[in-house]
């Protein structure tokens, strides 16, 4: 299948909601159907081709070009295929995603992969907050899948996540892993405050020192074998986790005791 390409021709003045842009939808659509599919420019109902040049049809490979930072909900609930964005995207990228791959060369807004149940998202630039999180009031964040952010990330990364993996290359802001119930968050450059606050279960790995909540208790240093499994999984994405005893060890902190929770934060101490 040759990819469908969407090239931004008209920058939206207010946010453009484009959850129609998914491989699941486009694989069954002709070029004309794709062009005429419904997007919301603020409150106005518009055609996709009011904003994008569209080539291709009947494919689950989508490529998008342009500054899409005002374009929201791309790849929402997608379950197959691939969405590749050459540029930046707005909020809710891959929210409720069930499968397939999303790759973004630029930055992304808040709520990427929110409440996703499977799939793979890679943002090369910076991302906003609430990555893989639960929407307000909901008890369940991401249930599975992988999200990789090359740059920095905002508040509440992995909030209430259940399973799956989030890796952030740059520094992360407050409340990373807030109320998380499972899964793994890997912080290559550490985080600001309140990492792991109110966590119930799950694992946060940090390669840099972290300020810890007073409700986490230190429980020694070690080089657990499960880190090697993570390392193997992440290596294909260009991420390497240290674990060799000669290079250092992980200090383990358990919490959050205010819940009381059985989560763990592992911080790497180079030898």
């Amino acid at each position: 299948m040759s990819p469908i390409t969407l090239t931004l021709k008209e920058r939206p003045k207010v946010p453009l909601e484009a959850e129609t842009v998914t491989p699941d939808a486009f694989v069954t659509m002709s070029n004309e159907q794709i062009r005429s599919s419904l997007v919301y420019h603020g409150k106005r109902h518009c055609r996709l081709d009011d904003f994008f040049e569209v080539t291709g049809e009947f494919s689950d490979l989508i490529e998008m070009h342009g500054d899409l930072h005002r374009v929201k909900l791309l790849g929402k609930s997608m379950s197959r295929g691939q969405l590749k964005v050459y540029g930046s995207v707005g909020m809710h990228l891959g929210a409720d995603m069930r499968g397939g791959r999303i790759e973004v060369t630029g930055d992304a807004g808040d709520w990427i992969g929110a409440e996703m149940s499977n799939g793979f998202i890679h943002v090369h630039g910076n991302a906003g907050g609430q990555i893989g999180a639960a929407y307000r009031g909901s008890l369940r964040g991401m249930k599975n899948g992988t999200i990789i952010v090359g740059g920095t990330a905002g508040l509440e990364v992995g909030m209430r996540m259940r399973r799956g993996t989030i890796v952030v290359g740059g520094k992360v802001r407050d409340f990373c892993g807030l109320q998380m119930k499972g899964g793994t968050i890997v912080l290559m450059s550490g985080a600001e405050l309140r990492t792991g606050a109110w966590m119930v279960r799950g694992t946060i790995l940090s390669l840099q020192p972290l300020p810890l909540m007073p409700t986490f208790a230190s429980s020694g240093h070690y080089n657990p074998s499960f880190i090697d499994l993570y390392a193997q999984e992440l290596l294909p994405h260009g991420i390497s986790l240290p674990n060799h005893a000669s290079a250092g060890s992980w200090s383990r902190h358990c919490g959050d005791s205010s819940i009381p929770g059985k989560g763990e934060i592992l911080i790497w101490n180079p030898a």
């Binding site: 929407y135 307000r136 009031g137 909901s138 008890l139």
Partner: protein, 565 residues
């Protein structure tokens, strides 16, 4: 002017069981004939009087608190899209006001009784009710835990207590009086509960829940309120509470009373592990005591949010489920609690609750005295009523549903042994004619000449739940509001209120008490008439209790050969 021709009429208030008759409507009421106007051809269709919900929670501080606590539900539910003539809204566990009107009317219900209004925030409740389109409303004000009232009972000042109740009913612009867990809510404000009728009440010496219940029922009868005391019994939801319920019923002999959501009060056993259905005991007593009416408070499996003025029960739920919990206490009067909850067939307690609601509806043999309700949103959301109707009308469907229950659950209930199936006539009784009668709303629940022209027209259909969820037409006050699943008009509803008489001197007694316990000035306290949209004042005759509930005559033979349900 509208004429509805050729429909099969089910009008229990007038003893009509499936006869084909024409209905004529003019000026919002049924009349004997009309000339000209629209004709609705209802040939082959089934016609009911508009539904009346005797016990629901659709407006006011607590349901509004529940809305705030459940954004995740609003996101997954039906959304009503704004048009030039209709406001937007969200359905779900705690629907928004506009959606509440659309959803009730959409299944043919045209009158609702908001069952729990704290006096202090009655103004809020009325403002919300104005934003519920289409439906006519009544409301019950919460009095059984009002401290000024309790102090008077403690002091033995009965006449003055009566004036206080009457004054509050009028101040709140209410229609009736609700008593919730009498004595128990007052105690809850100290984190305590009063479970049995003879339990002492924290903060008082002589009065017990039993005193409050007896006295309040007497006061309401003597004030001549059209709706009797609306009672949420003590010990709600607890295993073994059947004894409290039966004691309460005995205490009420010789008095009128409406016992709310009976399902939550009909459990046997000693604790959660040994809990069993006690609906047979309750139904047996109830069947032989015609002074009372009740509503089912049935439970359906699925998600809901529980909200009640019964704080102790809510805290118990919170402890059992660990789900998020909100509690709202209103000064001097009452409190309420809110917990999102999922009823599951795999859960023994939930299975018993599900069965008990249906058992009561099936074992209580007089459809004029038990009404369809889920205590919305506590047992299930009101828009799921058609599912309950299907359960009542089809023994086979009930059997299918019971296969989901565990063998242990099936041993603890009597539902498998009950093969009664409701007729359409009986459904029309428990959803409309009966509750209208219990509320004393003489112009509701009837298709007779002079009654309000609230009508629902169904296309006969084998799938009962589908038929009752999607009426072909709904008329409210003679106006077509629903047609072919579309909302055609959203007229404003009316509010029925009562004005019981009281000694005006009671105000000089109350005013200093207010300054003592309330934080609102006495003058600001009563709700002004201007707040109400289309208020309709019902008369009460002091000292003259309306007659006790109507009881069933033999159901007349059905006139047509209906679909075999």
């Amino acid at each position: 002017m509208i004429r509805i021709t050729g429909g099969k009429i089910f009008d229990p208030a007038n003893g009509i069981n499936g006869q084909v008759r024409d209905l004529c409507i003019d000026g919002g009421k049924f009349v004997s004939s009309v000339i000209g106007g629209r004709t609705i051809d209802a040939a082959g269709m089934i016609i009911f009087p508009g539904g009346v919900d005797v016990h629901t929670h659709v407006a006011g501080g607590s349901i509004n608190f529940a809305r705030a606590m459940t954004p995740e539900d609003h996101r997954r539910t039906t959304a009503f899209i704004r048009t030039q003539s209709r406001r937007s809204g969200l359905g779900g566990m705690a629907p928004t006001t506009f959606a509440t009107g659309y959803l009730y009317a959409g299944m043919g219900w045209t009158t609702v009784n908001e069952a729990a209004v704290p006096v202090l925030s009655a103004r809020h409740t009325h403002e919300e009710m104005r934003d519920i389109p289409i439906l006519d409303k009544t409301s019950c004000v919460l009095m059984a835990n009002n401290e000024i009232f309790l102090d008077l009972l403690e002091a033995g000042e009965f006449e003055r207590a009566k004036d206080v109740i009457a004054w509050h009913v009028w101040a709140a612009k209410a229609y009736g009086v609700k008593a919730v867990n009498p004595g128990g809510v007052a105690a809850w404000k100290w984190g305590k509960d009063a479970k049995q009728l003879t339990d002492p009440i924290e903060g008082y010496n002589s009065i017990t829940p039993g005193t409050i219940i007896g006295r309040l029922a007497q006061i309401i009868d003597e004030l001549g309120l059209p709706h009797p005391m609306h009672l949420h019994c003590n010990n709600l939801g607890a295993p073994g509470n059947v004894w409290t319920t039966l004691e309460t019923m005995k205490l009420l002999e010789g008095r009128r009373a409406h016992i709310a959501h009976l399902q939550y009060h009909a459990y046997g056993g000693d604790d959660w592990d040994t809990m069993r259905s006690a609906s047979a005991e309750v139904a047996e007593y109830f069947n032989t005591h015609t002074n009372m009416t009740t509503d089912a408070g049935a439970v359906l499996f699925g998600d809901t949010v529980t909200i009640t003025a019964d704080g102790p029960w809510q805290h118990l739920l919170y402890k059992l489920t660990g789900r998020k919990w909100g509690n709202l206490d209103v000064e001097n009067e009452t409190g309420c609690g809110i917990v999102p909850y999922t009823y599951r067939p795999s859960n023994l307690v939930n299975s018993i609750q599900w069965a008990v609601g249906l058992e009561l509806l099936l074992l209580i043999n007089d459809p004029w005295r038990i009404f369809l309700s889920t205590d919305h949103p506590n047992g299930a959301c009101f828009w799921r009523y058609p599912e309950i109707i299907q359960l009542l009308m089809s023994y086979d469907f009930r059997k299918d549903c019971m296969t989901k229950l565990s063998p242990i659950a099936r041993e603890r209930i009597t539902l498998p042994d009950i093969d009664r199936e409701y007729t359409l006539y009986e459904i029309a009784t428990i959803t409309s004619a009966g509750p209208a009668r219990a509320l004393g709303l003489t112009q509701k629940g009837s298709l007779g000449i002079g009654a309000d022209a609230d009508v629902v027209i169904y296309e006969e259909e084998k799938d009962i739940a589908k038929m009752f969820s999607h009426p072909r037409y709904v008329l409210k006050g003679g106006e077509v509001v629903i047609e072919d699943g579309d909302i055609r008009a959203t007229p404003e509803g009316r509010e029925f209120i009562v004005k019981p008489s009281f000694d005006p001197e009671i105000e000089s007694f109350l005013k200093p008490k207010f300054e003592d316990v309330y934080t609102m000035s006495f003058e600001n306290y009563p709700v002004e008439m201007e707040r109400l949209e289309h208020a309709d004042i019902r008369e009460c005759i002091n000292g003259q209790a309306p007659s006790p509930p109507r009881t069933a005559e033999k159901e007349p033979d059905r006139a047509d050969e209906g679909v075999e349900f």
